[in-house]
């Protein structure tokens, strides 16, 4: 079979089950493409060639024995390097965890394994998932497959770039304020941030515990839906996971959008929105209407306060979560010949990069005596107001539609000197995390030749009420079908 790397996960599985190709052949095709292209992209921090081959052979043997095949049987998957995989190194893109090998699998990883996935390697990320460009990785940035001078977005930039460049069929990411959806938009792939609690967080290195969710990135909505059906469900290891039954998300996709009511928030259409992002949204609205959906303007009035609220809540939670990196249980130790407190501060001063320090610092300040009510306490109250905005909106519409990112992929280095400019990348994505809502980013076009940067993907976001993943995916499938960007691949030449 030709071009195995371009097939969707569902097509790969079907080809294996029909005996047209072996899992080993699929894995070899991906490994050789990684070897040829990843030196330029740097989507992966580590590739487990031996493990992937061994696993492929084991699956092929299981196939010969006619054992039942899971929904991701033989599908090559990449994992963001903040997910624990037994025996692999998990670095979180940080020096402070270098050498850490978790003795257990994250539940999401175990579920993919159970479903028949083959793990290719671990993907690059902003250190501890803190960033919107993957430039905060201690191991160097990932490049956007559509334009190597640009960022893939972040923090799951390695996962998004790997899927876009056909270096994996599916990847896992984590999303605390947009870290799955924004890189999915900038790399032209589908990204799903599930409802808070829909997917177990056990084995995901914690950043903002009330915000973090694991989700899939894929080239088709159907693949993302299949992966989400595997990932979702309650887990005794994560008491925040929800017990509601998990639907077959792929089954709902064909239903179309007839009768669905979309809300277009006027706050998600600011004057400085990239005109071609706005254009893609307008075209999408026309097509959804033509498909029988209604689209009406709504208001989410507290949107302008979402970024401050998010960056206060997320950094406060991070300052507490990251207290565990102290040179005692894992990672390198500095100043071990001095007293305990000096050792902690030296280890952390040396091990964390600038953005992680900035956020721990901001969170520590926001929680410190004398300031906690003015900053953290105030942010939690505004978080309630943001939830009320959505409660109100969902009384009149089924789903909220808008851009995922205010602009397409930006140049590497363009925003690194101004932290607040980087934070503004997340202006449309953070609220879904603060309120715990499901959201899907789906490719909906490319910048035209009239744009300063032509040929870059544009993503749109569908946000739903709690546990409405099926509705979000159904809408995303309609956008995928009517906006016609499926199958377009970045032109990448092997490293010379």
């Amino acid at each position: 079979m030709s071009d195995l790397v371009s097939l969707s996960a569902t097509a790969l599985r079907a080809a294996v089950l029909q005996g047209e190709v072996s899992v080993r052949e699929i894995v070899e095709a991906h490994l050789s493409r990684i070897a040829a292209l990843d030196p330029r992209l740097h989507a992966y921090l580590g590739v487990d060639e031996a493990g992937a081959r061994q696993r492929a052979d084991a699956l092929d043997a299981a196939r010969r024995r006619r054992e039942p095949a899971g929904p991701l049987f033989g599908v090559p998957v990449a994992l963001k390097d903040n997910l624990c995989v037994r025996g692999w190194e998990t670095t979180c893109g940080s020096r402070i965890l270098e050498g850490f090998r978790p003795p257990y699998d994250a539940t999401a990883v175990a579920r993919l394994r159970e479903a028949g996935a083959v793990f290719l390697g671990r993907t690059n990320l902003d250190e501890f998932a803190m960033g919107s460009s993957t430039e905060n990785s201690a191991f160097g940035p990932t490049r956007n497959p559509w334009d190597l001078s640009r960022a893939p977005g972040g923090s799951s930039g390695g996962s998004a770039a790997a899927v876009a460049a056909r270096l994996a069929a599916i990847a896992l990411g984590s999303d605390t304020g947009g870290s799955i959806r924004q890189p999915a938009a900038l790399c032209g792939v589908v990204g799903v941030k599930p409802t808070y609690g829909r997917v177990s967080r056990y084995g995901l290195v914690a950043f903002g515990s009330s915000l973090d969710q694991i989700g899939p990135l894929a080239r088709t909505v159907e693949d993302a839906a299949v992966a989400l059906s595997v990932l979702a469900g309650s887990d005794p290891h994560d008491s925040t996971s929800v017990a509601d039954p998990v639907p077959d998300y792929a089954e709902a996709l064909a239903r179309g959008v007839e009768g669905l009511r979309f809300g277009l928030a006027r706050e998600y259409l600011p004057p400085d929105l990239d005109p071609e992002v706005r254009g893609a949204l307008e075209r999408c609205v026309a097509r959804l209407r033509a498909e029988g959906a209604s689209v009406e303007e709504i208001s989410l009035p507290h949107t302008p306060h979402a970024i401050p609220t998010y960056y206060l809540v997320a950094t406060s939670e991070a300052s507490s979560n990251l207290a565990r990196y102290d040179g005692v249980k894992y990672g390198p130790r500095e100043g071990g010949d001095r007293d305990l407190r000096t050792m902690y501060a030296a280890t952390r001063g040396r091990g964390f990069g600038p953005e992680v320090k900035r956020r721990i610092f901001l969170g520590t300040f926001a929680l410190s005596s004398g300031y906690v009510e003015a900053y953290y306490g105030r942010a939690l109250r505004v978080r309630s107001l943001l939830r009320r905005d959505f409660d109100e909106a969902f009384r009149g519409v089924d789903l909220v539609l808008g851009p995922t990112s205010p602009f397409p992929a930006f140049r590497l280095g363009e925003k690194v000197d101004d932290p607040f400019q980087m934070y503004l990348c997340d202006v449309f994505t953070v609220t879904a995390n603060l309120v715990g809502l499901p959201a899907v980013s789906v490719p909906a076009g490319f910048t035209s030749d009239r744009h300063a940067a032509p040929g870059l993907p544009i993503g749109l976001q569908v946000i739903g009420p709690p546990l409405a993943e099926a509705g979000c995916l159904r809408a995303a499938a309609a956008i995928e079908r009517t906006c016609g960007v499926r199958g377009r691949a970045p032109a990448l030449a092997p490293a010379g």
Partner: protein
Amino acid sequence: MDEREAIAAVAGLARIDLGPDERARISAELGGILRHFESIRNLPTEGIPPLVHATAGRDVFRPDDPLPPLPLEALLGNAPERSGEFFAVPKVVEG
């Protein structure tokens, strides 16, 4: 407390050593970031309850059954320094 002392105090709470350049940079950036956060400080929130967690208020019960623990050797194997079955740290108590 002047700004330099304030930065040193927060760095102390965060247990992070910062070099002089880092202190200057964080001091400059923090002021800028906090100015962008002023909008929420001026928003009337009287009577609005804090939302700590999107799914807060739900009790979760499960049987109190012991499960096998993670393997001790694998856990200790990640430590920069160990002493037998313990994590080793610089001496905390004199004597």
